[in-house]
């Protein structure tokens, strides 16, 4: 027993009213979906923690501190003169990821190196003051970083990332 094609034709033409109603339903459906998608974006409390202030007054030259920022480790290293010299002595063109040391610190603040403590290979946290270049060494797959945090040897494709940061005062930096 089939119920189809009952009640005469004349209803087959797409009429404006039905189309408009359908359009409203479509718009409504899209509007309804957005909150369900957006709720997965960072919530207000997470966004409020998007920057961190660090007091660097206690850090001596030759010392490095690890800060947590946005759930990730950040190395704040106060470099010695020797470390800065070593970083400047490198021929930038020979680097796997060419970048001059000047581009990786704030002007006039060559002492201070701020980099994300995440190996650019597969995300492990490298060990400081280790490896062949006195920078960092990643034990997971053997990547070596220099005193500017640049990749020198090993599988990592890029230098340690320098996050957005700024000196609020000589003893206070804000990351993020």
């Amino acid at each position: 027993m089939s119920a189809a094609s009952h009640g005469g034709d004349g209803g087959e033409r797409r009429d404006f009213l039905v189309i408009t109603a359908g359009a409203f339903v479509g718009v409504g459906a899209v509007g309804l979906v957005w909150p369900f998608v957006d709720q997965m974006n960072p919530s207000a409390d997470v966004l409020a923690l998007s920057s961190t202030e660090v007091d660097i007054s206690g850090i001596e030259p030759g010392q490095s501190v690890t800060i947590s920022w946005r759930g990730k480790p950040v190395f704040v290293r106060r470099r010695t003169a020797a470390e800065i010299e070593a970083a400047l002595a490198v021929d930038v063109d020979d680097l796997p990821d060419p970048e001059s040391d000047d581009a990786r610190h704030k002007e006039g603040k060559a002492e201070w190196l701020v980099v994300l403590g995440i190996c650019t290979h597969l995300g492990c946290v490298p060990l400081g003051y280790a490896g062949d270049y006195d920078g960092w060494f990643c034990p997971c797959h053997g990547s070596h970083y220099d005193t500017s945090g640049r990749i020198r040897k090993g599988p990592a494709p890029a230098n340690l990332e320098v996050p957005e940061y700024a000196f609020l005062t000589d003893t206070q930096i804000k990351i993020g």
Partner: protein, 412 residues
Amino acid sequence: MSFQTDNKLIKWFDDRLPLVSVMHHTFVQHPYPRNLNVAYQFGSILGVMLTLQIVTGIVLAMHYTAHTSMAFDSVEHIMRDVNYGWLLRYMHANGASMFFIAVYLHMFRGLYYGSYKAPREMIWMIGVVILLVMMATGFMGYVLPWGQMSFWGATVITNLFSALPVVGDPIVTWLWGGFAVDNPTLNRFFSLHYLLPFVIFGLVFLHLVALHQKGSTNPLGIEIKGPADYISFHPYFTVKDFFGFAAFGVIFAVFVFWFPNYLGHPDNYIPADPLVTPAHIVPEWYFLPFYAILRSVPDKLMGVLAMFAAIGVLFILPWLDRSRVRSAAFRPQYKWFFWIFALDCIVLGYAGSQPAEGNMLIVSRIATIYYFVHFIFLMPVLGWFERPKPLPTSISEAVLAGKASTSAGENA
């Protein structure tokens, strides 16, 4: 006419997994009575509400933490910090209420039009199971915010099982996972609250399969006799149901956006405190009639049994009702008793919201007794002694003749 297409891709697919032809069969071929009215729209509305509750629930679960030390805070995190969290929470909480409004209207339709009568007993009984699972789901969901009512409602209701002789106390300890409602209880309620809606989904599928076997009833209560009596689901009931969703949505939106806490209880905005009992412990409104029945009976065990019997009696309704006429449209005496029963349910609900003492307790007891009298005594007796009106010969005859006469003649 069965499903035909020239599209090779659809043919390939449908030949291996007949989704398209099943859809075609259900929505184009299968006969639906042409005279279905508004009361028949709550089934599809329930389908929409189940989907909405599942979707809002899943996204809320991305932000909720089911631990006593964090549950309440996590809900406030959702309300204040999660993007649109307040909207999702209010949709889910008020959605539960709308879900129950729809299910009660859906059930009352069944009671009025005799939808439960042979040969549709299975549809009805599966429906009662769905109601039970809905109640369990709603009960556990209300515990999750871990407010005062969450905690104390859980305590009172789980304590009921201690009324069972011998096995009562071990069962309660087993439910709690400890010596009182506490973290183990909350955690397992979260797990089960997530699970049961999918059980409901499966039961709804069975409910629809059983429905499809026999086809829908209609307001006249007489079976489809010929092609003039029926129409396809699409486009007629598609568009009508969409209208129903929109209208229902307006009421839903009024609650969500303008009165989001009206159906709730202020005490649930107080974090749970096992050492302080609220002045009046009240469940959510949709449990109030059953709560009234529970408290009407002075004996603890009998009260519990009466409460479950209130739902149990629904199971056997197809056999309690001895009438040979299906729809109340042709049963003038039953019609009166139907409305009195509906009023009785409202009275029970009100009684459930008040302290069980004094005059209110007397009212509760009378209403409880009447509830059971309606099913156990009136339904069979009416069937034997009523004088039904003569049935029309067919649906189409009634529809064409009765833009005026019968109350079921209009399909708008």
